[in-house]
Amino acid sequence: MSSPILWIALPFTVGTFILLFINEKYATWIGGTLCALLSLTAFFIPIDTALLLGTLSIKIAPAVQFFGRSFELNTADGALLTIIYGVATLWFFGAQVSGTATRFVSLGLMIISLLTASLAVEPFLYAALLLEVAAMLVIPLLLPTTQKANQGVARFLIYQTLAMPFILFSGWLLAGVEASPTNIGSTTLSGTMLSIGFAFLFSVFPFYNWIPSLMEENSPYASGFLLWALPTFTTIFALGFLDRYTWLRTSPQLINALQFTGVFMVASGGIFASLQKHIGRIFAYATIAETGLILLAFSIQNIDIVILTISILLVRGIELPTWALALSILKQNSNSLKFSDLQGFFRKFPIATISLIIVHLSMLGFPLLAGFPTRLAIWQLMANISPTLLIWLFMGAMGLLIAAVRTLAVFVMTDEESNWKLNEGWVQITMLGLGVSGLFILGLLPQALNPLLKHLPALFERLSQ
């Protein structure tokens, strides 16, 4: 058995099998259990190390050849696989109670396996192609056959497709830059192409206009999954670039661009969120602000860059499924996610509304919640660089806080005679409870992540030196 077969081929095959043969009721259990098993395997069984079970020796080989190219998942990838498949477990178990499109689990498994393949492929540049294939699979997930295609979906497809050529060309140019670093022309060209490619992939301003419309017009759970999966793997892909090319990570122009873009996204995301009257759109702007935070983490010239970035991703992996599930529950029981349709929902769906507000607070960096430690670290590091940056970051956080308060005000806006009811099902309550508990635990005890995070610097050795 080799690691690419276990963490790439197996989920892809199971996803295809579920799509063709399995009832959706069982699909969530099969998908969720498979991801949980893969996550636990990645955590407990080191790749490329012989393990003796009595007389039986087990060893997971790290590589497999495919069309003359290698797919490799090494020992260092174990922690990352644990996180990815652990978060995927949450998404798949939540799918059944979210009432999302029937193909969520099957397509979700295929998407995760393709994205994992993007981590494993050598040369790593080919990841851009796999990211594009995964992005294409997202479309049927977002859009059931009965729903008319909308602008958000079309824009998403356009931007993801435009990203791929820029990344592939820049990668080819970067190889030339490595050979002759004094050639300013090709350095500038490759840097520019790389920036444009990642601007599309990360949906940097002004390319993020599809996110709010997607959240408004499509299933919040499927859209939330997309907003977790693609940025997570894009972040790891981008870390790979920074790790490989020394001149890139030390380039003052790139660092300035990352800081400016990151701060702009945090501030604009927060400010726009405060102006929305649709809680799906607020979710969209909160994720945009968080992507800005990831870009800021990239700009940090510090050995903790890897741990900080992956910590943001890990916390995001708990926040987004919980928030998306709460949104799905509310959407199933109201005409829309507009403020006007959600008045008084606090008394009808107390668990979903409280969970939504707690996750929202975590995403703005509220103390005692999981989002706080990573944001505090970034705020401190940014304060050392420029107090102006910090002011803009606080403006973004304030915008998100205003959005949270407005949402809460809408939820509690009801007459005194309304009765309290618990309309959520027990599975919904369990899933939301798990998510919210996770946020509190990671907020109060951030060191709980240490067993996972301690191995990650080995994945990006040069960045962590």
Binding site: L129, T145, Q147, K148, A154, P165
Partner: protein, 201 residues
């Protein structure tokens, strides 16, 4: 002789891209795309083996078949809808002229910076990329968006074939092309009256 054919291929690509941009009839657009893939095949075989070039040509024509068969089963009401974006053929022709001029001007400079690609290959690649981006920028019609993306990818493939010959890349690009056409078909069908009737049945 090879050079002359390469420049002829550039002209064919320019005409096909312009046709794709200015013609509203989907049949003519798909025909132009088919011709475009033929010219692209010529450019690609100057850098890749004949078999790989043929695979790209067949993929391209499969893409056209998928889109054509889907469009054939849909009514014309979608195309008749008024769009906010500029519709005038003169405007589109002017845009295409700018792209063509920019491509012809930039190609020799790019060839100097990255030797070995060939000026005709670079010119064709840039025309297709520019044409694709214009198509994406001025159209909200889903078939037009698909055609724009396919044109853009075709331009990229011509250029990338000159620098990368891996089978895995060729395979993944073929998957992306077919995937884009399937998605285009899916987006065209999703929510259409035909689909709703089928679901009701």
């Amino acid at each position: 002789m090879t050079d002359i054919i390469s420049w002829l291929a550039v002209i064919v690509i320019l005409i096909a891209t312009t046709t794709l941009l200015i013609h509203k009839d989907w049949r003519i657009s798909l025909g132009a795309l088919a011709v475009l893939y033929l010219a692209m095949f010529w450019h690609i075989t100057s850098h890749l083996p004949f078999a790989m070039g043929s695979a790209k040509l067949i993929t391209g024509w499969m893409v056209i078949a998928i889109l054509g068969m889907t469009r054939l089963n849909l009514s014309n009401s979608e195309e008749e809808k008024k769009s906010f974006y500029p519709q005038g053929q003169t405007f589109r022709l002017a845009l295409m002229a700018i792209i063509a001029l920019a491509s012809f001007a930039a190609a020799p400079r790019i060839e100097t910076a990255i030797p070995g690609l060939g000026v005709p290959v670079i010119t064709s690649g840039l025309i297709l990329i520019g044409g694709g981006i214009i198509q994406l920028g001025i159209s909200t019609n889903l078939l037009r968006i698909s055609l724009g993306l396919l044109t853009f990818i075709a331009g990229f493939e011509i250029l990338y074939a000159a620098i990368e010959s891996a089978i895995l890349v060729a395979g993944l690009l073929a998957i992306i092309n077919i995937g884009l056409s399937l998605l285009g078909s899916y987006l065209l069908i999703a929510g259409s009256p035909t689909q709703e009737t089928q679901d009701e049945v």
